[in-house]
């Protein structure tokens, strides 16, 4: 097997019986992210992640823009999760500006946030299917996603990036026919979720590929600081919506799923249950939606007071937080984004080492790593 020694990408000498593969950015199994694995037979013995291929310096660029101007730039870091990635930014900015947003705006933020969660989870499901070789599970979610994109389009005005949760509230109000259409979509999708269970979540081949694969025990999950579905699948009932309720989550009834098996299958199931819970939350929000303004009118160059703010929300992939330091001008002094993908990255070498080569895509994608978000 000396064919694999010293390829164009690896820079270290591997011993004669190990092969080093770069699962690089030009690979259908990785996205814009590269990790190098060293293989001994069928077992992975080492894994070195190499993020940074799509690092665009978002944090530096916020120093050149006012708070409102940064929103479209920041939301493109996480395309499947646009509302949730700008919401903590807006929340921290509002704290620094000393304003309180109206309740209707908070409910609308919740509706869009949960819609975004379903969109992100459906995309995740599609890619998880294709990584396991299951092309039908790739096609169905991406088709059903269109319904929720249409819902987002009714409120936000665009298909993917709507720059909706700006400092001061939300940009647009909800149209009148949104509620009927949303309820119809939810009924249809709940029936479809049963089909998904039959073809993917209860499929014996998928169960064989995901159960007892990539096990992350509870204590280690907490120590490594993972968040989101990875943490909840390891038996920790932690969700920012119940840990530190923002908007009006404390008035709503929803459950946070946890599983004790800590394996890839548990992470898949957490995604499924969260999709159902998101629809439930949206139904409750549509019932409870109060009347009123949706925005506090701020100037585009609004001045923030000096100080620090740290705001966090439960994004689709986990807890996302913004730390903003302001010196009292219209531009922030320092913005630091802490994204769930970056925090989960440390679990990737831990889970891959010791597993089969064929488990690599299943484990990697079950951590829900979004390279663009992690690199900011």
């Amino acid at each position: 097997m000396s064919m694999g020694v010293g390829s164009a990408f690896s820079t270290e000498k591997i011993s004669e019986d190990k092969m080093s593969i770069s699962v690089g950015p030009q690979h259908p199994g990785a996205g814009h992210f590269r990790f190098t694995v060293t293989i001994d037979g069928d077992t992975i013995v080492d894994c070195v992640p190499d993020p940074g291929y799509v690092h665009r310096g978002a944090e530096k660029q916020t120093e050149y823009r006012s708070f409102l101007q940064s929103i479209p730039m920041l939301e493109r870091s996480s395309l499947t999760d646009v509302t949730n990635i700008i919401m903590p930014f807006s929340m921290a900015a509002e704290e620094l500006m000393g304003i309180q947003i109206p309740p209707r705006a908070q409910y609308l933020r919740m509706i869009m946030s949960e819609n975004q969660r379903i969109l992100s989870h459906l995309y995740w499901l599609g890619i998880q299917g294709i990584f396991l070789g299951h092309s039908t599970v790739f096609m169905w979610p991406l088709g059903d996603r269109e319904l929720f994109i249409d819902l987002g389009q009714m409120i936000g005005g665009a298909r993917i990036t709507y720059s909706y949760a700006i400092p001061g509230g939300v940009r647009n109000d909800m149209p009148d026919d949104f509620k009927d259409r949303a309820l119809k979509v939810f009924d249809y999708f709940e029936a479809r979720l049963k089909d998904y269970e039959k073809i993917f979540f209860n499929n014996p081949l998928v169960l064989k590929r995901t159960q007892d694969v990539g096990v992350l025990p509870r204590a280690e999950a907490i120590k490594l600081g993972v968040v989101g579905q990875t943490l909840r699948a390891s038996g920790v009932k932690s969700d920012t919506r119940i840990d530190e309720p923002y908007n009006f989550y404390k008035d709503l009834n929803f459950e946070v799923p946890t599983y004790e098996s800590c394996d890839t299958w548990a992470r898949c199931m957490v995604h499924l249950v969260e999709m159902r819970q998101s629809m439930d939350i949206m139904r409750q929000c549509l019932e409870k939606l109060p009347q009123g303004p949706v925005r506090v009118k701020l100037s585009p160059q609004q001045r923030a007071q000096a100080g620090e703010a740290y705001a966090r929300v439960e994004a689709s992939r986990g807890a996302l937080s913004f730390h903003i330091i302001s010196e009292g001008s219209t531009k922030p002094y320092r913005v630091k984004i802490s994204v769930p993908s970056f925090r989960n990255l440390i679990a990737l070498p831990r889970l891959l080492i010791g597993s089969h080569v064929a488990d690599m895509p299943a484990i990697y994608w079950s951590l829900d790593y979004w390279p663009v978000e992690a690199d900011r």
């Binding site: 120590k223 600081g225 937080s321 330091i325 630091k336 970056f342």
Partner: protein, 168 residues
């Protein structure tokens, strides 16, 4: 940023945290204490010790964020660790910020990776972004920046993005 007196609206958990830091005496200095957010300042000599207390006594078991900021007016770099708690009772909503200031000409400080393994990639990113060195970190190599980056660390205020218009 100066110390603020304990507000009357602070819940019990924050008050007990502030009492604990008061007991530590001169090693820490409370910067602000709001509901759900407390920030303290430590020196780099006390950083590891105080962090050990934070983990063992106060039960903040994971690190959520590491921020590195450049303050050229004070000629200092500030590294802030944010800690969260899963295991502690009633502490889920609190984020504790521990800030450490080092001079820009001597940006060395100890790494807390032995206490919190989750800061591994965070410290690497902070080190390459503002140019500080975490002593004791096993592998402080480039993470997000390309390997052939030859400019100064980009989050320093002295680094200006090429091609951007500078306003007054």
């Amino acid at each position: 940023m100066s110390t603020t007196p304990a507000q009357p609206i602070l819940p019990d958990e924050e008050k007990s945290i502030l009492d604990f830091f008061a007991k530590l005496g001169e090693r820490t200095k409370v910067v602000f204490a709001k509901p759900n957010r407390i920030k303290i300042n430590v020196t780099r000599e006390n950083l590891v010790e105080v962090t050990k207390f934070v983990r063992d006594e106060l039960k903040f078991d994971h690190c959520t964020n590491v921020t590195g900021t450049d303050f050229p007016k004070d000629k200092q770099l500030e590294i802030t660790y944010h800690f969260g708690s899963i295991g502690g009772t009633g502490l889920r909503r609190i984020i504790l910020a521990v800030a450490c200031r080092v001079p820009s000409t001597d940006p060395l400080l100890p790494s807390i990776i032995d206490l919190y393994p989750s800061v591994n990639y965070h410290e690497r990113e902070t080190a390459e972004m503002i140019g500080c060195v975490f002593q004791g970190h096993p592998n402080l190599s480039r993470l997000l920046l390309p390997e052939d980056w030859t400019d100064i660390p980009p989050m320093l205020k002295a680094y200006r993005l090429p091609g951007r218009l500078e306003e007054g």
